[in-house]
């Protein structure tokens, strides 16, 4: 057998995040506050791919309703501590994962012993009241630990990520082709010179890599046009004609490929704007002993580009497949790879210099990490999330919320309702619930209690709207208030599972630092089967 058991087990996911992503997952310590149906579904989708460990913090006792909507409980669990009961069932999903439970009241823990949460790589909360949430968010924010806030009610799901900064090297874009056709480096120019198109037999001519075709004709074009590339569409068409003139017959697919890439060849290679922006962030400018590997390498790449890189990022070195014979393709591929290697080694030298200057050992950043950064340099990303403090207190997005609320297609309305529902909970220690509200055939007959919850919830909605300086009450909110009262804090298994999938996926992106996580709130509406993301 060539492959070990673990590689076999994780094969289908390793194809997405590879061994380094898997290692990151396997060292992650995940904390879940409250073992609700949604919380358990999130953990299920994290235990299966193999996180290091999880800890459920929950002091509630399992009730009959919990067993009804949670797959990780049985009727014998009723009366047991919920954290312990769900941990046992979740643990058995994957023998490689350690499961812990802490039967403590999360609210008291946040109040009295907040440093408890600093041991985790990421904290996920479900059903935590606003006051405790804000306090926890503060603690984790200062410690740079990601917090994911999750809520499901009825057919609605909501989640929010809070983290000061998230950096991504491996965004896995669809293609990372960087051929430098407009600015061929010396080794590539040299290689193109070895071709004499006229002297080639028909078989060889039909197998010239299109990169060589383009470079050859661009060279000719530049000779006749003051070293300039074709820039207007008229010029590009003229350039296409030039290529066509060298074509011997319609069968030559390599010429088709060359013609299809003319536009790309005439686009100047430069540092993408989003990367330029990252270079301007102060973390890139001010490297200290506390700087993360990402910023140290980013700084080295920035300096590389400003000096020996001649204004360009290190070359990725990938060559797409193209019509070519094997020796030519492999030779060309090696030229690109060699240049990528040289660029990476220049960056490595710069990284080592920086490490020396801040008193860190040069082997504290691996060559693999530097090489991977260089390969992905055009696609690096930095996400700076807004804090919960900003969203709730200091800088709420008043104008945006007001504008989004006007649009009936938007899902922001559910955000308003969830916020109002949490305020309601804060005061009454229960969710707005209208048991008899719409039970009668005649909807006009509304019980006193039900109409109370409706009116109370509406009052909280209005308080929020006032806080956001939204002066007119959008009438369509009434229906959504009804729907929340109907749901009465219920957690439906389907919505819990759907959110479980969404949240776990974003958690995996945060832990592996691969792919691009959402920023910063996603709302799913299971009535209309739509979702939206907002920066709140």
């Amino acid at each position: 057998m060539n492959v070990d058991k673990k590689t076999q087990k994780y094969d289908r996911q390793l194809r997405l995040w590879h061994a380094n992503g898997q290692t990151a997952l396997e060292t992650a310590k995940v904390c879940l506050i409250n073992g609700t149906a949604t919380g358990c579904e999130i953990l299920k989708d994290l235990v299966l791919p193999g996180i290091g460990s999880f800890t459920v913090v929950d002091n509630k006792i399992v009730e009959g309703s919990d067993v009804g909507n949670t797959f990780f409980l049985v009727s014998d669990s009723i009366g047991m501590n919920r954290a312990q009961a769900v941990t046992e069932f979740l643990q058995e999903l994957n023998e490689d994962v350690k499961g812990f439970h802490f039967s403590e009241d999360p609210i008291a823990l946040i109040e009295n012993q907040p440093e408890y949460f600093l041991q985790f790589s990421i904290v996920i909360t479900t059903n935590l009241p606003e006051k405790s949430l804000l306090k926890l968010a503060d603690i984790l924010w200062n410690a740079k630990i990601p917090l994911v806030i999750v809520c499901t009610v009825g057919f609605i799901g909501y989640f929010r990520i809070a983290l000061p900064e998230h950096t991504i090297v491996e965004a896995h874009p669809e293609n990372i082709i960087d051929l430098r056709l407009d600015v061929p480096f010396p080794a590539l120019e040299q290689y193109v010179k070895t071709f004499n198109f006229g002297a080639l037999g028909s078989m060889d001519h039909a197998h010239i890599p299109y990169v060589v075709i383009l470079l050859k004709y661009l060279e000719q074009w530049k000779r006749d046009h003051d070293s300039k590339l074709p820039s207007t569409s008229a010029e590009r068409n003229e350039f296409k004609k030039l290529i066509q003139s060298g074509r011997r017959n319609v069968e030559e697919e390599n010429f088709d490929e060359a013609l299809a890439s003319v536009w790309k060849a005439c686009t100047s290679t430069k540092i993408p704007r989003q990367v330029e922006e990252i270079f301007k962030i102060s973390s890139c400018e001010n490297i200290t002993a506390e700087s993360s590997n990402f910023w140290i390498i980013a700084r080295a790449v920035r300096d590389f580009a400003a000096n020996e890189g001649l204004g360009l990022l290190p070359l990725a070195g990938n060559v797409p497949d193209m019509k070519a014979d094997t020796p030519n393709y492999v030779a060309m591929q090696n030229i690109y790879r060699q240049k990528a290697k040289e660029d990476a080694s220049a960056v490595r030298a710069r990284v080592h210099n920086i490490l020396n200057s801040i008193g860190r050992s040069t082997d504290s950043i691996s060559d693999d990490e530097i090489d991977s950064f260089c390969k992905n340099a055009s696609f690096i990303q930095v996400i700076r999330y807004r804090s919960l403090q900003e969203e709730y207190i200091t800088e709420p997005k008043n104008a945006d919320i007001g504008r989004w609320l006007q649009d009936l297609q938007e899902n922001i309305v559910h955000y308003v309702l969830i916020r109002a529902m949490n305020r309601f909970y804060e005061s009454y220690n229960r969710y707005p619930d209208a048991a008899t509200f719409f039970l009668e055939d005649d909807a006009e007959e509304v019980s006193e209690e039900a109409s109370n919850d409706f009116n109370t919830l509406k009052a909280y909605v209005n308080i929020l709207l006032r806080e956001w300086k939204i002066t007119s009450y959008p009438e369509h909110l009434d229906n959504h208030i009804h729907e929340i009262c109907r749901a009465g804090g219920s957690e439906l298994a389907n919505i819990a599972s759907l959110l479980g999938g969404m949240v776990s996926q974003e958690v995996i992106k945060l832990i592996t630092k691969q792919y691009i996580p959402m920023n910063n709130t996603v709302i799913f509406d299971g009535v209309r089967s739509t979702s939206s993301s907002y920066i709140l």
């Binding site: 060539n2 590689t7 076999q8 087990k9 094969d11 289908r12 996911q13 997405l16 149906a37 579904e41 299920k44 989708d45 299966l48 193999g50 009959g64 309703s65 067993v67 009804g68 909507n69 049985v74 009723i78 058995e92 999903l93 009825g154 057919f155 896995h172 197998h207 070519a324 094997t326 393709y329 492999v330 619930d433 719409f438 039970l439 909807a443 959504h480 009804h482 109907r486 749901a487 219920s490 298994a493 389907n494 919505i495 599972s497 759907l498 479980g500 999938g501 969404m502 996926q505 995996i508 792919y515 691009i516 996580p517 959402m518 920023n519 299971g526 209309r528 089967s529 739509t530 979702s531």
Partner: protein, 450 residues
């Protein structure tokens, strides 16, 4: 009013079935809040606490859900495990699951009803038994075999069919079967909820046979499968994939003609890997690994727990809404992608008037006069919207066989036609009947020469 409120948590005398009485206090209380109350967005026909599906007597919606509604789940893999769990937690108590596969170790990263000790056992059986062991008073029966083994009456026996398959062929089959089932009798409509995933992407959709667009209508939305030209593989390999294809497509049949290649057999993969590696060395090509070899020869599609959970939950949410009418159901397609941020796109996929399964217009193809029958067959195989593997052709009006792939007798007899010009056998405006053994329907194509 107080009386009715009681029913939220306590079994009512009306649903006198044994199952209901075994429920512990509060079991369905989350669900009953939705089922027992009016909702502002609910279908107008929704009557809280009552089923509108069977209106002959006073039957609670809960009971319809819990005991009377039979649901078929096709596939007990990544989506199937999730679907089964969601259904039983949503009150569905009478389920059948079909799957022909056995459990592989690579399933364990997402198919959470299976344990390492289950490897080698039938998925349908293990999944059904696990669910019944975990969740009280639900009946999950299973069939370990192919969906094609079952007849119309079998499929008519379910109110709803949820499909979590990874095979295009099987989905085309069930889709066509359910559309054909309807005929002129709308009461024979069985709704199909279909889910599919690939890595971070997926889709959930509701197909109401003959009413909405069907699976066949949207075949052109499938990504084209990556294939490598045989001449590249044989003569000018450039990628590690080319070397692997050479090992499996060209070298294996030559060296081991008597052994059928089994891509699930690790010794076979190992053999291919070594051959591919050797060839790669010869051509100075890098990047052939065991994992890549396996990926290429098995056409492995990445699969993760999270995407499966999202799509399966969406399918079950639609199933729940369809059966209870407690909310409007999806009309009719939700696409999801999660590699860059998190997006869904919900839209109404339109019925194709010339859909070979649900449309009533014939397909007209504009064909070059110079085409041979063989060219035409190749052309059909390339057409993304019809996706044929081994099409057989007959003249629609005369019934004359143009080319049949099987049985061998007919293949032999019709093979000489491959070299003929199509126009010799089919005149301008004539109709061709195209069949494919993988499809439960035939295509009618009108030929128009250009």
């Amino acid at each position: 009013m107080a009386e009715i409120q009681m029913q939220t948590d306590v079994p009512t005398p009306q649903d006198g079935s044994e199952a209901a009485n075994k429920d512990w206090y509060g079991r369905w209380s989350h669900l009953y809040k939705i089922l027992d109350r009016r909702g502002p967005f609910a279908d107008p026909s929704f009557t809280p606490g009552h089923g509108d599906v069977l209106d002959s007597s006073f039957i609670f919606l809960r009971e319809i859900l819990l005991n009377n509604c039979r649901v078929l789940v096709i596939g007990a893999g990544g989506l199937g495990c999730e679907i089964l769990k969601n259904l039983v937690l949503s009150g569905f108590k009478n389920i059948e699951v079909i799957d022909m596969d056995i459990i592989d170790v690579s399933n364990l990263n997402r198919q959470f009803l299976f344990r390492p000790s289950d490897v080698g056992k039938p998925k349908a059986k293990v999944a059904a038994e696990f669910i019944m062991k975990r969740v009280a008073d639900v009946k999950v029966t299973y069939y370990h075999g192919k969906i094609q083994d079952k007849d119309d009456d079998y499929y008519l026996g379910f109110q709803l069919i949820i499909c979590g398959l990874d095979s295009v062929e099987a989905r085309r089959w069930i889709n066509a079967t359910l559309v054909n089932l309807v005929g002129d009798e709308p009461e024979r409509i069985r709704v199909l909820v279909d889910g599919g995933t690939e890595g971070f992407k997926g889709q959930a959709r509701v197909i109401i046979p003959t009413i909405t667009s069907c699976y066949e209508c949207s075949l052109d939305m499938l990504g084209k499968q990556k294939t490598f030209p045989i001449c590249t593989i044989a003569n000018t390999p450039r990628l590690p994939e080319h070397c692997i294809e050479w090992a499996s497509v060209i070298h294996w049949p030559k060296i081991r003609p008597d052994i059928k290649m089994d891509t699930d057999d690790p010794t076979h993969i190992q053999w291919l890997y070594e051959i591919a590696l050797e060839r790669a060395k010869e051509f100075n090509i890098t990047g052939v690994t065991y994992s890549l070899t396996q990926g290429v020869v098995k056409n492995i599609i990445p699969a993760i727990a999270s995407t499966n959970a999202i799509i399966a939950a969406s399918c079950c949410n639609e199933a729940f809404k369809l059966i209870t009418t407690a909310q409007p159901y999806l009309n009719n397609y939700m696409m999801y992608t999660g590699n860059e941020g998190l997006y869904t796109y919900t839209f109404e996929h339109q019925k194709k008037p010339d859909c070979p399964v649900c449309g009533n217009e014939r397909v007209t193809m504009e064909i070059n006069k110079e085409m041979t029958v063989e060219d035409f067959i190749e052309y059909l195989k390339e057409r993304q919207e019809i996706q044929l593997k081994r099409p057989s052709l007959s003249h629609a009006t005369t019934g004359e066989k143009i080319y049949w792939q099987s049985p061998p007798l007919f293949e032999q007899r019709t093979r000489p036609n491959l070299e003929k010009m199509l126009i010799e056998m089919v005149e301008q405006g004539d109709e061709i009947t195209v069949t494919d053994t993988t499809l439960p329907f035939s295509l009618q194509i009108v030929i128009s020469y250009t």
